[in-house]
Amino acid sequence: MNYNGGNTTGFASPAGDNLEGRIDLAAMLDLSRPSRYPVRVAGDALASRGIFAGDILIADAASPPAHGKVAVVMLNGAVLVGQLAYRQQQWWLASGHPDTAPIAVTGDDAEIWAVVTGLIRTQV
C-alpha cells in the first residue's frame, strides 16, 4: 500500500487532515520555467565565489545580467562560467583568479547565455 502518514488501517491518523506534500526542490528552483537550464561546473577557478567543480548551477536566460553576477557565457566557441563586470560601456567576464585578466564579452561569437540564480551541490 501507499502509506502517506494519513491512511492508517486501525486508529485514524491525527495527522490525516493536515498532511502536506513533501518539499519539492525542483519546484523551489523553478526548473520547469522555459528559461531555466541546469549547468554543470568544470574546474575550481570560481572557488573564491564558493563554486566548485561538479556543482550544478541553475542558469536563467530570463534573468537580466548585472555587474557582479555569475553568468554562463559563450565566448569564442567555449562555454564559460564567471563573474560579470560592466566597465567602459561593455560587459567583461572576470576570473575567480586574481592574476587572470578579465576578457571582454564582445563580438559575433560572444553571448551572455544565462545568469546563474542558484546552485545545487549533491555531495558536501
Binding site: P34, A45, L46, V79, L93
Partner: protein
C-alpha cells in the same frame, strides 16, 4: 477581423544543437535522420553548400564541399524539450497558442495593438530564453500567416517578420509568388493547375470559387477562401485523438537472424505500448511488417500481417501478439532492412477484465504503472522486457549524438569555471 501568426524556429534541430554548442555557430551544420541516413535539418550555411532536404548523407559526403560540414545524429529528447520551452515562452505572452508541429506554432493575435513590434519582441524573447532564432508571418487567416512566414524566411530584408494583413501587400505578394508556396497545395495539385495556366497565387485567387471546388474539391475551395482573407481554419487547441500508433525503424545494420528481428519488433511493441498508455488507451488491432532494402540489389521481400487482438495496453501481451504475427511473415535467407508495428482500434483503457478475457487486467495495469513509473524516473529503457534484447545489435547508427542537455542529469551542459 481575426489575426493569426505563424512563428517557426529557423532550422529548428540545428538551432537546438547550436544553443548549447557555441563551437557550431556560424558553421555549416546538418542534423541527420534516425540511423544517420538523410539530412533533415540544415543551417543557412549548409543550404548554401547545396545540401538538399532529405539528401542521403553518404552521397552528400562524396562532394568535396560537404566534407567540411558538421553533422549530428538526431537528438529528439533535446528537440522535444526545446519545443516545449518555445511553446511556454509564447503561451506566457499570447492568449492562444497552437503547437502545430515541433517547430511551428500558430498564434491568435486578434485585437492586439502594434502587431509588428509585438512580434519582433516575441522573436527576441524566444531567441533570448530558448536560443532559437525564429521567423513570424502575420495574416488574417492561417493560410496567409503560413505564407507570410515563408516570405519572412526568404526575404532577409524583412528581419524575420512579414505582415500580410493589408490587401494591397497581399496583392503584390500573390502576383510574384508561385502557387506551390501555399500551405495545402501539394506538388501534384500545383502541377495540375500549372497546366491550366494557373501558376501564381494571384491566378488561383482570381478563379471563381465554383471552379476551384470543381477542380480541387472542398479542400481546395477552403484554401482559396483563406487566401482571399476569409478565415476557415480556426486555432486547434487540442491535439486530435489518435487513430493509430506506429513504431517503425530502418535498421542500422541489415538484420538476418530471427532472434535479432524478434528483439527489434519486441522493442517496437514496447515503445508503442508506452505511447498507448501515455494516452490512456488500449488497442484492439495490431499489425507487423518487415522488408528488405529495395535499393541495395538484395532480393525484394516485403510482408505484413494484421490481427484483431483482445484489447490491451500491456507491453508483454503486445509483444506476444507482435512476435506471433512476425513469425508468420518471417522467411530465412533475407537481409531485413526495415520493420515496424502499428496499433489501432483504440478505446479508453479499462481496468476491469471482460467476461471472456483471458488476462488479469488489474494485475496488468499495476505492472505497467510500475514499469512506466520506473522509466519516467530513471530514464526510458531503464526497465524493459528481456525480449527486447540486452544488446541492441539492430539499433540505428547514431554516431554523433549530442548530449541530452536538458533531460538527463548526467548529460548537462558543462561550463568551464573562468
Amino acid at each position: 477581423m481575426s489575426v493569426f501568426a505563424l512563428i517557426d524556429g529557423n532550422s529548428f534541430y540545428c538551432s537546438a544543437e547550436r544553443a548549447f554548442a557555441p563551437e557550431l555557430r556560424g558553421l555549416p551544420l546538418v542534423v541527420l535522420s534516425n540511423n544517420d541516413g538523410c539530412a533533415i535539418a540544415r543551417t543557412a550555411e549548409a543550404k548554401a553548400l547545396g545540401i538538399k532536404m532529405g539528401e542521403p548523407w553518404h552521397l552528400a559526403l562524396r562532394r568535396p564541399a560537404c566534407k567540411q560540414v558538421e553533422w549530428r545524429s538526431s537528438n529528439y529528447p533535446l528537440y522535444g524539450d526545446m519545443s516545449r520551452r518555445m511553446y511556454e515562452v509564447l503561451a506566457a505572452r499570447v492568449p492562444q497558442v497552437e503547437p502545430y508541429s515541433i517547430d511551428e506554432m500558430f498564434l491568435d493575435l486578434t485585437g492586439l495593438p502594434d502587431l509588428e513590434n509585438f512580434c519582433r519582441r516575441l522573436r527576441d524573447d524566444v531567441r533570448r530564453l530558448t536560443k532559437i532564432p525564429t521567423c513570424v508571418g502575420i495574416g488574417p487567416t492561417k493560410t496567409i500567416a503560413k505564407l507570410a512566414n515563408r516570405i519572412a524566411k526568404d526575404e532577409f530584408a524583412l528581419r524575420g517578420v512579414c505582415d500580410l494583413r493589408a490587401p494591397a501587400t497581399r496583392a503584390t505578394c500573390y502576383a510574384q509568388s508561385p502557387l506551390r508556396m501555399v500551405w495545402g497545395i501539394g506538388g501534384k495539385t500545383a502541377e495540375k493547375l500549372n497546366k491550366l495556366g494557373i501558376t501564381s497565387i494571384a491566378d488561383f485567387v482570381r478563379l471563381a470559387p465554383e471552379q476551384v471546388r470543381e477542380l480541387l474539391t472542398a479542400t481546395g475551395a477552403r484554401v482559396q477562401a483563406e487566401l482571399r482573407g476569409q478565415s476557415c481554419i480556426p486555432l486547434t487547441l487540442m491535439p486530435p485523438p489518435r487513430q493509430a500508433i506506429a513504431v517503425t525503424r530502418s535498421f542500422g545494420r541489415l538484420v538476418t537472424s530471427w532472434g535479432e528481428l524478434r528483439e527489434a519488433v519486441a522493442a517496437f511493441a514496447t515503445r508503442a505500448a508506452e505511447k498507448l498508455r501515455a494516452d490512456g488507451l488500449q488497442a484492439g488491432h495490431l499489425s507487423v511488417f518487415a522488408h528488405t532494402n529495395p535499393h541495395n540489389g538484395d532480393d525484394w521481400y516485403s510482408a505484413s500481417r494484421a490481427a484483431q487482438i483482445e484489447p490491451t495496453a500491456d507491453t508483454l501481451a503486445l509483444i506476444t501478439e507482435a512476435v506471433r504475427l512476425l513469425r508468420a511473415i518471417w522467411r530465412p535467407n533475407f537481409r531485413y532492412f526495415k520493420a515496424g508495428i502499428m496499433l489501432g482500434d483504440f478505446a479508453p483503457a479499462r481496468q476491469q477484465s471482460g467476461l471472456f478475457s483471458t488476462r488479469d487486467a488489474v494485475k496488468s495495469a499495476r505492472a505497467m504503472a510500475a514499469l512506466d513509473a520506473v522509466n519516467a524516473r530513471f530514464g526510458s529503457g531503464t526497465l524493459r522486457p528481456a525480449a527486447t534484447g540486452m544488446i541492441k545489435t539492430w539499433a540505428g547508427r547514431q554516431a554523433r549524438h549530442s548530449p541530452r542537455y536538458t533531460t538527463r542529469a548526467e548529460e548537462m551542459l558543462i561550463a568551464k569555471a573562468f
